[in-house]
Subunit: 519 residues, 2 copies
């Protein structure tokens, strides 16, 4: 029995001399799957996992620990769960605990209400495809409060498996046409790679609009017009996606900017997808989160009653960081009624979002009130998380900006810094000769030499000739300091190696000076 | 502001006299989404929900309760969760409970092990895209034991969001080519509509092979050959899907039959997808579950080392019935190494399966052992569920077969009966004039007159001119009796209405006689 590989097929000689080819090979794989890229869990992350396992098995590296700053995974970086949320989920999971005196009444009341909404009063039943009714109602109440009274109808709320599920479902509805009438999807560059991956898998047309790095990654309305007009030549632009607060850029959009985007979408008949999963993650005192829905409402009924909008939220970010529960919701506005029925049909194929994730979502939209027993602890835990994130956002920006050849915009919100890094021409050449993007080579060497795992900017998109990486601000303050210092040393060494004659503009003293204020 | 609807677009007059068309209408919706059908949550189920809400609001109907026998949702039908499973999930959700003396040690040990495998020891972290390592290891051990020592490598185990997620992912990999070389997917008729929905959404070619209703819905190898040869004319058959035990048919495949299928797949270079989510649900004493993997192994290395196989399991069925947790796994065999990397990439876009669902899956593959404190209770609960299902499977078959014009094959396994119903020609005509399939009209009338919610056979596929419905055997024994009696009365009334001159071959006494043995 001989077995060998070719580029097209793996072939096995049968006993009878015939050959049996593999059915599924790189040659026969769905080309849309092949085309998909997803950097947040790309080759660097795989390599980081390998190194981690190696360390555990006693392999030697120039470091003792891999620091994963590649993904917005708060608990993995040491953040503790919000007690109240976990109490409610545990009570729902094992309702015998409802008789236990060690759980507070408000947690029990939440759990009873959720269970009442579940088939057979069990988290183990499928929920309706749109989610548990009472949780959708709670989401609508939350949105109304968040938006200072702008009405929210729970019929427009769909619970989802994380935000990704909702985003992919809405995109899927919107993709149609062939050739020049194929749907075009406008996305920011840099973007969160879920968008490019979904667009590529669905063979829609990706329309890049570039955020303005020189202006704190703000969205520039002129750039939207430029991108739209250019795209109209070869596709039918139908959707604009916005991420606010931004991932990976950390910018928070101004109300004026949102108005401009919505006006543009109104004029050009675009469907608006507003990714607002970081709505609780705003750190800069000059910034405030404005929901697209509220701004649309304030623009008047002409806008509020016509622009088709889907906005997305999740349990994974904010102050709870419950990624593993895969909870989320979307709210749709002005969706055609028949289309809504089609959306429910599409969602019904995956049966329902995980019900424990729905329960977690419920706690986030329906937290303890001031008069309830869990309020103080909840509030303390929430403030501690958001306070620490705000401090780390500031620290990350400031320290990075002391490093020669790194320039970091303010981390106004979300969980990431996306600094620009100077990569000397000789390093660019070296990367090219390895068939690698220069920022990929940079991040790979960083990982190999320091154990720090970041994602190259090319995974998110960046203007040609500029290089970046995305790092989360999630490590504990102590670990983040270590990370930033190691990163600094690596960067200086990298510059020395590839541009030995250039004079660094800042010295190590600047970094130490900046670090002091966070001690 | 005027708003009106047309078939193609909803149009709103703008203040300036221009019109703003909706972007997303039935006219512009993705045609693949429009083409998808999913009967298990189709119009009948929507209507059942409406009636249920109406009843709650005091509307009058000729019944006081909707009985939902449309979906395999055990807990919604009153089945209680397995205590041990829920204890482990609660402990994982709220680890403070690990200090509580009210939880048994074996549950705590499972929870500690799972948490050890989670980032930051929290269910709230993303797991690896393939799932938590130690749970994948437990799955591999479970499979080896189930298959009496056939080796299982945890590198081939992927945890999934229910079984559906895995099935859709594997199908997605396999779809390629255009025109006559487009991938063809062989599926049983009747089938579980996830398959037809996914095939339609991916624009693959559906190849029907008909199960033999006259032979207890057995798979007939000659029918496979017929379907394959016919399909080769217009597509490239690349996959064969098998559901064993069968959904909606309840048949359990013999070892000989599985060998024939595997030999066929080997000869024709087909990828085998084996949906084994009902592997614990075998009731007929003459039947036994054989995994496709074990049979492949026993056919010798020539087969075991070449045939590409993906098999699927889930937390939703079996004796636990934990649908809401969306847990599941798949095992792949003989997958090309590069293709495996592509699969992980594809799965990484959805980040990870819900981690509490992974924990639930772990309990199912790693239940209490005889020496452990929870063993007795676990065993008792498991046996009670499976014993009741076996009784209800037998009862359903026997009672249905006492009704004139209904013929039901033995429910050897799974959770459904798929009886054939005689629909008189005049009723067929009446349905056609309503633009409805006859079994849809039958099920709608059944719902309206009795409150019983079933799914028409046309949602699963059936030979032309034959009519069926799918009903679950999940209601409690008492409720199932009520359901079956109501169904009998409805059916006789339906026959009298549309075929008043035909003499029923069986009388009500037969039904009562058959019911007696289950009292």
């Amino acid at each position: 029995l001989a077995s060998f590989s070719t580029a097209e097929a793996t072939v096995v000689l049968r006993e009878n001399g015939k050959t049996r080819e593999k059915t599924l090979t790189m040659g026969t794989l769905n080309p849309q799957v092949k085309a998909v890229e997803y950097a947040v869990r790309g080759p660097i992350v795989t390599k980081a996992g390998d190194i981690e396992r190696g360390l555990q098995q006693g392999q030697k590296h120039p470091f003792t620990e891999v620091i994963k700053a590649n993904i917005g995974d708060s608990h993995a970086m040491g953040q503790k769960p919000i007690t109240f949320l976990r109490q409610v989920v545990a009570l729902c999971s094992f309702p015998e605990l409802l008789d236990s005196s060690s759980f507070p009444e408000d947690a029990k009341q939440r759990a009873r209400r959720i269970l009442q909404g579940c088939g057979g009063q069990s988290l183990g039943s499928y929920s309706a495809s749109q989610g548990v009714d009472c949780i959708r109602q709670d989401v609508a109440v939350y949105i109304e409060q968040r938006d200072k009274g702008v009405p929210a109808d729970w019929d427009n709320i769909y619970l989802t498996t994380g935000a990704s599920d909702g985003i992919v479902s809405i995109l899927k509805m919107l993709v149609s046409g062939q050739g020049r009438s194929r749907s075009g999807v406008m996305i920011p560059i840099p973007q969160y790679p879920l968008y490019s991956a979904a667009i590529s898998e669905m063979e829609a047309v990706q329309i890049n609009y570039y955020l303005d790095e020189d202006n704190c990654w703000a969205l520039d309305i002129n750039e939207l017009h430029r991108a739209y007009q250019a795209a109209k030549e070869h596709c039918h632009p139908r959707v604009i996606c916005i991420i606010n607060p931004g991932n990976p850029t950390g910018q928070v959009q101004s109300k004026k900017c949102i108005e401009e985007v919505l006006h543009f979408a109104y004029e050009e008949n675009l469907f608006v997808m507003s990714d607002e999963v970081y709505q609780d993650n705003v750190y800069s005192p000059d910034c405030q989160f404005h929901s697209f829905k509220k701004v649309l409402y304030e623009m008047g009924p002409e806008y509020f009653n016509t622009v088709e909008l889907a906005s997305f939220h999740s349990t994974s970010k904010g102050y709870s960081g419950e990624c593993g529960f895969r909870g989320g919701y979307m709210e749709v506005l002005n969706l055609d009624l028949e289309v809504k029925a089609q959306l429910v049909k599409l969602l019904s194929i995956r049966l329902c979002p995980p019900v424990s994730g729905q329960a977690a979502m419920d706690v986030i939209v329906n937290p303890p009130l001031p008069h309830e027993p869990s309020y103080l602890q909840f509030h303390k835990e929430k403030s501690a998380v958001l306070g620490a994130l705000a401090e780390k956002a500031q620290m990350t920006e400031q320290i990075l900006n002391t490093v020669p050849g790194i320039k970091c915009n303010p981390v106004q919100g979300a969980m990431y810094a996306f600094p620009r890094i100077f990569i000397p021409p000789r390093a660019v050449e070296a990367a090219m000769s390895l068939g690698m993007s220069p920022d990929m080579m940079y991040c790979l060497r960083l990982l190999e030499e320091t154990g720090i795992c970041l994602v190259p900017g090319s995974g998110f998109g960046q203007r040609e000739g500029t290089y970046h990486f995305r790092m989360t601000i999630l490590p504990t303050t102590e670990k983040l300091k270590v990370l930033l210092e190691k990163l600094r040393d690596f960067h200086i060494k990298f510059l020395k190696e590839y541009a030995p004659l250039e004079e660094p503009k800042r010295s190590e003293d600047d970094t130490q000076e900046a670090l002091k204020q966070f001690r």
